[in-house]
Amino acid sequence: MNKTEPRKICSKCVLPESKPEIFLDEEGVCNICRDYEKTKEDNQKHVYLETEFTKMLKMYKSYGSYDCLVMCSGGKDSTAALYYMKKRYKLRPLAFTFDHGFETEDALENVKNAVEILGVDFLYFKTDYMNEMFSAILKTESKAVMCHLCSIWYMNLTFETAARYGIPLIIAGWTKGQSKQQPLMSRCGCNVHQAEFTSMAKAAKEFLDSYVKNEPKYKDFPVSMEEVLIRAKKRQKCAVLSPHWFLPFDSDVYVELIKKELKWKFPRLSYPAHTTNCYLNFISVHNSMKYFGYTHYHVEMSKLIREGLLSREEAIKNLEINFDQELLNKISQKLDYVF
């Protein structure tokens, strides 16, 4: 592993100093936390309540065979989302898992158990379509974060799938830290225009412009999440929601629930701790740390800290790097790259 210079970290959240977007004041507090403090009162005025969610479920009522398409990675948040849609809201979900070839066996096992126990229809889509793009990121030493490109692709695929089955509602397992800003799901879980993502978004755009646009294989690849949404809108009226935005439960609560009800298990190896992410995530995290000094998980957990849903202590512990170069090389074999 490449060791990066230790950066000063905000004393309130877990974001490191990363000028010009993220900078610390004399008290060691970052500008994002300071901005949050200014708008805290306004932010807290509107609490997302579950009854808002149930009203939206009615608003996007389906007249087809499925009420919602649940993006299910096998992680705790998306598995709990699937559970809630079936059991709590008594809907007819279609579970949807996309696998770019790097999903872990543990995650897929979790999905398999969940759909079997819940008795929901399941769509599993596996492809190596993105491999060349991932490989190019590594070989060209692009700073683009793989997860961002992947999310553009899978969101597009999800909207396409929802349209194909006439499903007006997509359910994700996004937490309050990933996105809570509305109008609902305008940016699919991640607002690339917020300061914490500026550098990452710029790197993604550069890569898309320089590589993807010129690669015949990817001529239809959306160049941004905005484009994904424009395409989706043309297909059908469709919303993306996460029950976790509206429910007050800590992840501890629903982890216990899905462990008991759906035989869900924590994966043997994952980053951050207590999550389920694909193998490629390790490479993505490695590169994010190398180029930016933090990852989108730092952004997510910082949000949760600000909202009092996670302690800084817990976040620091969860974000400790728990993998080595050997693992990275094992994963990157498929991409014809050696760290």
């Binding site: 309540l49 579950e50 009854t51 149930t54 009615k58 709590r88």
Partner: protein, 559 residues
């Protein structure tokens, strides 16, 4: 069968969820909005009730509303008309709200909750009556309800048998003992809805030498029914509930910042005694007509623990039951119970033994609140916690005690409480100065081990909900001066090991250190704020006061 009860739009809005006749959750909206006595539609409370019951709004079979809006509007319009032109400003302030939401509750329920199921309305005082009787331990009981005003009713008498409630008689607006009490409260410079309890405390310092004046204002008949001479009052006329005529009789009204004089204490004492007199006459008549041994009380007037105990002492009733949310918030509980038992004809099997019906929080959430606020803390085992905290109380430390599910109703009963040493004669002043900032005339309440209640208090029955007062035994008044009021009384909470084992264990440890099976228990809040609900609010209260010690679950933080 899932029934959601709602009370709102006037004060103390709340929601209550009944599942197969059992109360699963009940909570006041003020605890979420952080605005005391919040009247708003209780959308947060409803969401909590649903989540606590693991239900969504689509699982609700009935929603019950605690009064009949059209009937109430009729009264509002008529009484404004009668008081015209003095009522014009009030009319403009009040009536638009009716047209906006109150008359169109089913539409509001659809808009706010997406609920399109059955909605039932029952009369305000029937909600109160149901809230007391249907969750009481009694198979049959006489029922007395009293408050400011519902639709027209201000007081009702009735009887409950099994699952049925029969209202025998009712008093109508403007003859309202509740409004009378509130009008004099405001005359004394104290705020309506908040100040009534303060008047009760103030009464201890006065002599009832204004009783004759009150008898001039209120004609009481032998059956206890009464007629208030409206020339002394103006319940609808404007910004003041009393008239110049009242000032002529009682003297100049007190402004909120003015000093409290002996005259004010005497008026408070007279008001309290006069109110008790009327209630006792009515209760005695109710006993005579019902011949029942048990009495259920409900309505805001019965948050007056002194009057409650006087009723028990001065009537043949053997037992009195008052549920902890005796005011309007309890209407949510009442209407839900009434629908389940009296309308849907289901037998009773649930007795309300405790008030712990609100939110609780995990150890992780409590820890996070401390960590995120940069507060150092230690974690204790249960046994060590009780010993350690009891020791601290015995050393005159003030403790913020946050445990388990929050209480329903206005009393903190040991889960959202501030605890202190009742043996210290200066404790009231210390608490007032360091934390509560309350008026010096207001007493603090004792929480006593249930089995030791008669050692310290002349109590005729247990008082789990702190809604009965009792005289402190004379030999104990100097032993627990911190909770003995000037008149020798105390607003007692009896603590049962079965119902609140953590508080019971703490008091037991305190007893082993000091010999006192009593601690001082007051609500965990600052003056004019609602009681804390979540750990973050407890931490905020701890930080803003000179409280010595904060106990969140098994975590202890100290200053």
């Amino acid at each position: 069968m899932n029934i959601l009860g709602i009370s709102c739009f006037y004060h103390d809005s709340a929601a209550c969820l009944l599942q197969d006749g059992k109360i699963i959750a009940a909570v006041s909206e003020e605890r979420f909005t952080r605005q005391k006595n919040s009247p708003v539609f209780p959308v947060n409370a409803i969401n909590f009730c649903l989540q606590r019951s693991n239900l969504t709004i689509d699982d609700i079979n009935y929603i019950g509303f605690y009064e009949k809006p059209f009937l109430k509007l009729y009264r509002v319009l008529l009484s404004h008309l009668r008081a015209y032109p003095f009522s014009f400003k009030n009319f403009l302030d009040t009536v638009p709200n009716w047209l906006e939401e109150r008359l169109t509750l089913p539409l509001l329920l659809k808009k706010e909750l997406g609920y399109e199921g059955k909605v039932l309305f029952i009369k305000h005082h029937l909600s109160h009556a149901a809230s007391a009787f249907l969750v009481s331990p009694f198979e049959e009981a006489a029922i007395l309800t009293a408050d400011g005003v519902g639709e027209w009713g201000s007081m009702t008498i009735g009887v409950g048998r099994g699952k049925d409630i029969k209202i025998i008689n009712e008093m109508h607006f403007p003859n309202s003992l509740g409004l009378f009490y509130t009008a004099i409260t405001t005359y004394l410079g104290l705020e309506a809805l908040i100040g009534e309890g303060k008047v009760m405390g103030l009464a201890g310092y006065g002599k009832p030498c204004y009783l004759d004046k009150f008898r001039e204002m209120v004609i009481v008949k032998p059956d206890g029914s009464f007629m208030i001479d409206q020339k002394f009052f103006g319940f609808n006329k404007g910004s003041r509930m009393y008239s110049n005529k009242l000032i002529e009789v009682l003297g100049k009204d007190r402004k909120p910042q003015e000093k409290i004089e002996q005259r004010h204490c005497d008026i408070a004492a007279s008001l309290q005694e006069f109110t008790e007199e009327i209630l006792i006459i009515i209760a005695n008549n109710l006993y005579a007509s019902s011949r029942m041994d048990n009495l259920c009380l409900a309505g805001g007037l019965f948050l007056n623990c002194v009057a409650n105990s006087k009723i028990l002492e001065n009537t043949p009733f053997k037992k009195v039951f008052i549920q902890p949310a005796a005011g309007d918030s309890g209407g949510a509980l009442g209407v839900a119970s009434y629908i389940y038992h009296s309308i849907l004809n289901n037998n009773r099997s649930f007795v309300m033994q405790d008030a712990y019906l609100g939110p609780d929080f995990s150890q992780n959430q409590m820890k996070r609140a401390l960590v995120n606020n940069g507060i150092n803390f230690k974690e204790f085992s249960d046994e060590d916690l009780f010993k350690y905290v009891a020791q601290k109380i015995s050393q005159d430390k003030i403790i913020g005690w946050f445990q388990g599910r929050m209480e329903f109703g206005p009393r903190a009963l040991g889960n959202r409480s501030i605890l202190a040493n009742p043996g210290n004669p200066g404790m009231k002043d210390i608490l007032n100065q360091k934390v509560k900032k309350r008026e010096s005339f207001r007493p603090y309440a004792p929480a006593v081990l249930e089995e030791k209640i008669t050692e310290f208090f002349k109590a005729k029955q247990f008082s789990s909900f702190m809604l009965m007062s009792a005289q402190v035994n004379e030999d104990k008044r100097t032993v627990i001066p911190g909770v003995t009021h000037i008149d020798g009384s105390a607003r007692v909470q009896s603590v049962s090991k079965n119902i609140n084992p953590r508080l019971w264990n703490l008091i037991k440890e305190f007893e082993s250190i000091t010999g006192l099976p009593v601690i001082l228990n007051t609500s965990f809040n600052l003056n004019r704020e609602p009681i804390v609900c979540a750990p973050e609010e407890a931490v905020s209260c701890f930080k803003r006061t000179q409280m010595d010690c904060l106990v969140l679950g098994n975590y202890v933080a100290e200053k």
